[in-house]
């Protein structure tokens, strides 16, 4: 009996010391940088989504040798972040925009045809294999969003000089559309075109639906980068939150409750976060009046990503952005109280820039971005954080 007890004790001791590989931990937390050994290769991610197999599908762009526009790049990785497949979509389709949209179990994104510069809706499966390409019409797609099984598309009509918001079905048919003038003259158009050819500032174009049922877009209207509310019927906007020409405006908005939004704004290079902003969806107001928490550590007019997730049984608004120290910064706010809960900085040595964030099935967070391997090669990076890891940071 004593010998058996000794054996059990020794076995328990050996097991407790074994510290074996832990597949669950490997899936919960990882960092990956996807490298290509071609000197000229250049990739950047746009958005990420988790697929039903636990893996991740990333939409990205790639440098084209013979065009100012960027090509389309798709990558599939498994639940451990290990590389599975990639696809460099032919250069007939260019300038992909996020997010990755889902409808009827399929995945979609918008891009642009290289010759006519018309919006294309690309349908693909969970492995990133393209199953259909649909010409939607309209030019220069700038932003997209999901809307109850359909898609919202913000595009730029370079003939009529309009920001156009459209309601598009997964089959590519446009059921509603409304255009709003950006103003006359080449000066107002130049920053928009420079955005598309990635030869200038990247504007935080966005489109979405408010909880009131109104649609909104964040883009150029009447010479100013503004948040514009519309019902897709009225010729004039229902409401406008004006920026300051191209130098000020909202970086990102996320409807929370009623007319309250989690938002961020930029103003002449400065960045401000407002975790609970009351945005006026009627009449004209100014983004400058929203105030907010200033973040001097962020790069000028920094891109901002916002999502709501649950950490430690609390709903938390997560902001992601880029710092002067070339790191990706995550900031957490209590959704209910607006209280600041903590921050996390990702990356070291090489520069890191945020592209997208997504909550994962295990309650964690996936953050994709661009890093510059060896300080010079743009490559896609993916960070996965477990719920526990996030819970330690955002207490």
């Amino acid at each position: 009996m004593n010998r058996q007890l000794l054996l059990v004790a020794l076995s328990a001791f050996a097991w407790s010391c074994s510290n074996k590989s832990d597949p669950a931990a490997d899936k919960a937390n990882f960092t990956r940088i996807y490298d290509n050994n071609k000197f000229e290769a250049s990739y950047f991610p746009i958005d990420i989504t988790q697929t039903p197999d636990g893996g991740y599908l990333m939409l990205g762009g790639r440098r084209l040798d013979n065009s100012n526009f960027s090509g389309v790049y798709l990558m599939k990785v498994d639940e451990l972040g290990a590389f599975v497949s990639e696809k460099e979509v032919d250069s007939n389709n260019i300038d992909p925009i996020g997010p990755i949209l889902t409808a009827n179990g399929k995945y979609y994104f918008f891009c642009m045809s290289s010759v006519a510069l018309q919006s294309q809706l690309i349908e693909m499966d969970a492995n990133g294999e393209i199953t259909q390409t649909i010409n939607v019409g309209g030019t220069y797609p700038a932003a997209a969003a999901a809307d109850n099984g359909s898609f919202l598309l913000l595009s730029y009509d370079n003939v009529n000089k309009q920001s156009v918001i459209s309601l598009v079905s997964p089959s590519g048919s446009v059921s509603g559309s409304k255009g709003f003038s950006i103003g006359q003259g080449d000066a107002v158009e130049a920053p928009i075109i420079n955005h598309f050819i990635r030869n200038g500032r990247q504007f935080p174009f966005q489109v979405g639906k408010a909880l009131s049922g109104q649609y909104f877009f964040n883009g150029f209207f009447n010479y100013t980068f503004s948040l514009v509310f519309t019902d897709l019927t009225s010729a004039a906007p229902l409401g406008v939150v004006q920026g300051q020409q191209a130098e000020g405006g909202l970086s990102q908005v996320l409807p929370l409750t009623g007319t309250t939004y989690a938002t961020a704004r930029f103003s002449f290079g400065d960045n401000y976060f407002i975790p609970a902003a009351a945005l006026n969806s009627s009449g004209i107001s100014s983004s400058v009046d929203l105030g907010g928490n200033s973040f001097p550590e962020l790069t000028a007019n920094a891109p901002v990503k916002i999502l709501v997730t649950t950490i430690n049984a609390r709903e938390i608004i997560l902001y992601g952005s880029n710092t002067h120290s070339k790191q990706i910064a995550l900031y957490g706010y209590n959704k209910t109280s607006g209280e600041f809960l903590g921050s996390k900085y990702i990356g070291f040595s090489n520069p890191f820039e945020i592209a997208g964030m997504a909550t994962t099935a295990d309650g964690g967070l996936a953050v994709c971005g661009t890093t510059y391997v060896a300080g010079r090669f743009p490559r896609i990076c993916l960070f996965k954080f477990s719920r526990e890891e996030l819970g330690k940071v955002f207490k």
Binding site: N19, N29, I33, Y34, N36, R376
Partner: protein, 289 residues
């Protein structure tokens, strides 16, 4: 011939036995209570020395994940038994006849190195390339708690011994130094470059582990003390990497490094002195038992 060999063997055994009895006080003496008492001894002493380490990857992990070249090219190359570490030991040993039972709490610093190398080549100009090498040196400090059985051969002043044991190692601290160097052949010439080393605390990336050990040595009885020199091989039996914190160090992940699952083996060489804890007086030497 066989009979002759047997005769020589038996004669040798008889002589060895006679020598042994003579040392104990004569052929006619019998084992007394005092003799039995004298067959036992406690030793207390200190040892110090050097160790060489080998990290053996059990399962590999990588941050830099190739998409258009084999994944094995991103694997780290480990250098075995290259870097010298050091250790200091407190030895407590109970000896009964030729057998000893010992625990030897040890503070040990082990060092191991690994590296990986990447190359980016131009598709337009085969001579244009960038080679970059990452060299990592890992220092891990452990408190080893071993249980050892020794067997001493013979009873002379110089006695060889063999030993086997089991140990449990408690992590105390860890630190990693990263050096990045390379050659740029794409900027109009051949330009070697290197960066200042980056030193990162890595205690969170490692864990306690256990292992088995075997070795041998020799002791020299000098007066009442025993000088020892021993060499042992420590074989790690469990993973030294902390599986939960593998990617938790943003600085190393950013550089592109992540710990593999590793087992740590060591060759440990120590020298020291042991003092007897019983019947110490000027008329008796510990070797006299």
């Amino acid at each position: 011939m066989r009979k002759a060999l047997l005769f020589v063997f038996l004669l040798g055994c008889a002589l060895a036995h006679a020598q042994s009895l003579k040392k104990k006080g004569g052929l006619k003496s019998k084992a007394t209570k005092q003799d039995i008492f004298l067959q036992k001894q406690w030793w207390l002493g200190f040892k110090a020395g050097v160790n060489l380490s080998e990290a053996v990857p059990v399962q590999r992990y990588t941050v830099l994940t190739p998409t258009n070249y084999p994944g094995t090219q991103a694997d780290k190359a480990y250098d075995g038994f290259r870097k010298t570490g050091s250790q200091a030991t407190l030895e407590i040993t109970f000896q009964y006849k030729n057998f000893s039972f010992s625990t030897q709490p040890t503070y040990r610093q082990s060092r191991f190195t690994y590296s990986n190398q990447f190359q980016w080549t131009s598709t337009n100009d085969a001579n244009a390339s960038l080679d970059q090498q990452y060299d990592f040196e890992q220092k891990v400090n452990y408190a080893d708690l071993p249980l050892i059985i020794k067997y001493e051969i013979g009873s002379n002043t110089v006695r060889p011994y063999v030993q086997v044991g089991i140990f449990y190692s408690l992590l105390i601290d860890a630190r990693q130094t990263v050096r990045i160097s390379g050659t740029d052949k794409a900027s109009g010439g051949t330009n070697p470059y290197s960066s200042e080393p980056v030193i990162v605390g890595t205690k969170d990336l490692f864990a306690n582990y256990w292992g088995l050990m075997a070795g041998g040595g020799v002791s020299y009885h000098l007066g009442n003390v025993k000088l020892v020199l021993d060499v042992s091989y420590h074989k790690g039996m469990s993973n030294i990497a902390n599986t939960k914190n593998r990617f938790s160090n943003d600085r190393l992940s950013g550089i592109g490094d992540v710990q593999d699952d590793l087992k740590l083996n060591n060759v440990v060489i120590s020298a020291g002195v042991l003092f007897p804890m019983r019947f110490l007086n000027s008329n008796f030497k510990s070797i006299d038992r």
